[in-house]
Symmetry: C2
Subunit: 339 residues, 2 copies
C-alpha cells in the first residue's frame, strides 16, 4: 500500500549492501565514519524510518507499552493514562491503550492482542470480572514485563503500584464517625478486586476501632463498578429500605460516587442531611457538585508515572529482575459539604 523507504533502497542508491546500511544506521563500530555519514545523511534526506513491524519480527524492542484499563471514561484512569504517557513519551516509548470494560473475556482478548503485537511491556489494571489470571501468568512466565497498578493481584510477582486504599477508606470512615455519624454504609466495586478488599478493610477497621459493629447489610457490592447507573440506584434503594437506614456512606470508586449522588437526587434523598457521602473520586471539579462533595482523591497521574517508570526499568534491565516491590501512594481526603 505505502511503499515506505527501506534499507534496501538506501543500499541501492548508495551502492552499499543492506547489511552495511543497517550497521551504519545503528552506528556500528565496524563501519567507517565516511560511510556512516553518507548513509546517515542520505537516510535523513529521504526521510527514512525503520519499519517497526520488521523490527518486531526480528524480536527487537519496539519501544511501545501496552496499557489495559477497565474504562477510559473514568477520571481516575484517564488521569493515570496521562501520567503513563508523560513518562513514556519522555523515554521514547509509545503507549497503546486498550479497555476491558470490566469484562474478563475482553481483557484476555485485548491482552493477547497487545502481546502478539509485541509490545515491550504491559501496564495492567485488572477488570472486575477477572478471577483467573492464567493469561497474564503465561505472558509473565515467558518474560514479558508487566506492572500492575490500582487493581492488582498477588498471583503474579512483579511491581505493583497502588494507592493506600486501606488508609484512605479508614480515614474517610473515621471522618464520618468523628462527625457523629454512626450508621455508615459502604458502596463498593466487585468483590474480588484488590481495591475492594483493601477499601473494605479500612472501612471495617475504622468501625471496630470506634466501637461500631460491622454490619454486613451495610455493604453493597456493585459488580459493574458504577458503569451501570441502575446498579447504584439499586444499592441505594436497598440501603434505604433497611429498618436501620444508614446516615452516611463511603463510596469506593469514581463512578460509584457520582452515580450515587445522581441517585440521591433522583430519589430525593437530601445530602448530607439524610445521607452524608464521602467517596473515592478523581473528578477535577468536586466543588461544582451540589453539594460540593467530600472526596478521597487518588494520586492517579503519579500512579501512572510510577508504574511506567518501574515498567521501563524492567524492560531496559540487562538481567532479569526478580526483586519486586509494591509502591503504595498516599491519597488525599478533602472535606466539603457532602460530609
Amino acid at each position: 500500500m505505502y511503499e515506505a523507504i527501506t534499507i534496501k533502497d538506501i543500499g541501492k542508491a548508495l551502492g552499499l549492501s543492506t547489511s552495511t546500511v543497517s550497521r551504519a544506521l545503528r552506528g556500528s563500530y565496524e563501519i567507517s565514519s565516511e560511510t556512516k555519514k553518507l548513509v546517515l545523511e542520505y537516510a535523513e534526506k529521504i526521510n527514512y524510518r525503520p519499519n517497526p513491524v520488521a523490527l518486531s519480527l526480528k524480536g527487537r524492542r519496539n519501544c511501545s507499552i501496552g496499557v489495559i484499563v477497565s474504562e477510559i471514561a473514568n477520571n481516575f484512569f484517564s488521569q493515570a493514562i496521562n501520567g503513563i504517557e508523560s513518562i513514556a513519551y519522555n523515554r521514547g516509548y509509545h503507549i497503546i491503550i486498550s479497555q476491558s470494560h470490566e469484562s474478563y473475556e475482553r481483557e484476555v482478548v485485548n491482552i493477547h492482542h497487545l502481546a502478539s503485537r509485541s509490545v515491550d511491556g504491559l501496564l495492567v489494571s485488572l477488570s472486575s470480572e477477572t478471577k483467573d489470571l492464567s493469561h497474564l501468568i503465561n505472558l509473565h512466565e515467558k518474560g514479558l514485563p508487566i506492572v500492575f497498578f490500582d487493581r492488582v493481584t498477588n498471583e503474579i510477582n512483579t511491581y505493583k503500584v497502588i494507592a493506600d486504599n486501606q488508609k484512605a477508606s479508614y480515614d474517610a470512615t473515621t471522618h464520618l464517625i468523628n462527625k457523629g455519624y454512626k450508621k455508615i454504609a459502604h458502596i463498593t466495586s466487585a468483590v474480588n478486586l484488590s481495591i475492594t478488599k483493601e477499601r473494605l478493610e479500612g472501612y471495617k477497621n475504622a468501625l471496630t476501632e470506634n466501637g461500631i459493629a460491622y454490619n454486613e447489610k451495610y455493604v453493597q457490592y456493585c459488580n459493574h463498578g458504577g458503569m451501570m447507573t441502575e446498579e447504584i440506584e439499586e444499592a441505594l434503594k436497598s440501603l434505604m429500605a433497611q429498618k436501620q437506614k444508614p446516615d452516611a456512606v463511603v463510596t469506593a470508586s469514581d463512578r460509584i460516587t457520582t452515580c450515587l449522588l445522581s441517585a440521591t437526587k433522583k430519589l430525593k434523598i437530601k445530602v448530607p442531611e439524610q445521607l452524608a457521602i464521602v467517596g473515592f473520586t478523581n473528578t477535577n471539579i468536586p466543588e461544582l457538585f451540589n453539594p460540593p462533595i467530600t472526596t478521597i482523591r487518588q494520586p492517579a497521574f503519579e500512579m501512572g508515572q510510577v508504574a511506567t517508570e518501574l515498567l521501563i526499568k524492567i524492560i531496559e534491565s540487562k538481567r532479569p529482575v526478580t526483586e519486586f516491590e509494591t509502591k503504595v501512594l498516599d491519597t488525599e481526603l478533602t472535606v466539603r459539604e457532602s460530609a
Copy 2:
C-alpha cells in the same frame, strides 16, 4: 522472548509443509478436507494464534484501527471512543488509542507510529495546533483509509463525521436571546479548528437574525481548549472587565464549560443571575452541578460508531472509494437552571 507456536511447529508435528498448514488454516480449496481437519484440530488443540507481526510484514490487513484524539480525559472523546470500540469489537477490529494533547508535534509522531505499525485505518480528530496536514495527506495519498470525526479538515477528501455544530450553537444562542439575554459572549476553542468556526458561525447567525450586533470582544479563544484552567479564567476575567459586561455566555467545549463554571465560583460570579451559561458538554451528570447546567450534548457515542462504520467500509472495500460524504449528526439542547 515468548516462543509462540508457529505454523512450522504444526507442520513439523503433523509431517506437513508450512505452506500446506498455512493454506489449511486459511481454508484453501487446494487442501483436502482431511488434512484441513487434521490441521485445524491440532491448531485448536495447541491454541495456535497467527503472529500478527508477521502478517503485517506480509502486508496483510491486521484488523486494527488507530484512533487519535486530543485528550482522553474528556467526556466527549471518551464516549466517542466507546462508540468506536463498540463497532470495532463487533467487526473483529482492535483499536489503538493515541493522544495528541493538542500538540501538533505529538499528533505527527503518534500518527506516524500508528501508520508504521500498519494499522488498517485511522480515525482522526485533529489537534488544535494542527494547521499543516501534510502528515495525513501523505498517508491518505498512499491509500491509508482515514475518517475524520469532530475536528475535521477539508484539505482531505474522505468521510467525515461531525455534530451539527452550527445549528447547536445557533439554538443555544437563540435560547439565551429568547430568555431575554442580550449581551451574549462566546468562549471557544482554538481559532483554526473546524468546530470553532462552525460554532462561531451559529452564534453569529443567531445574533444577527435577532438584530443583535456581533461584538468581536465577546468572543474569547482558548487555544488549549480548556486543558489549562488559567486560560478559561483569563477569558472570563477579560469578559467581565469590559465596560459592557456580558450577561450570558455560550461555551464551545466540554472542558471549557466545566472550567468556566469553576472560574465563576472562584471569582464569585453568580450563575445564572450575573452570568447565564449554556455550554457544549458531554458530562453524564449535568444535573449534579450547582447550578444544574444547560447543555448542548453531542452524540459522541454515535459519532464514534458512525465514523468506525465508515472507516471499516473503506478498509474492506474491494475497489478504492472515491465518493465521500460528511455525516452531520444532531445535538441535543437540554435547558436547566444555568440559563
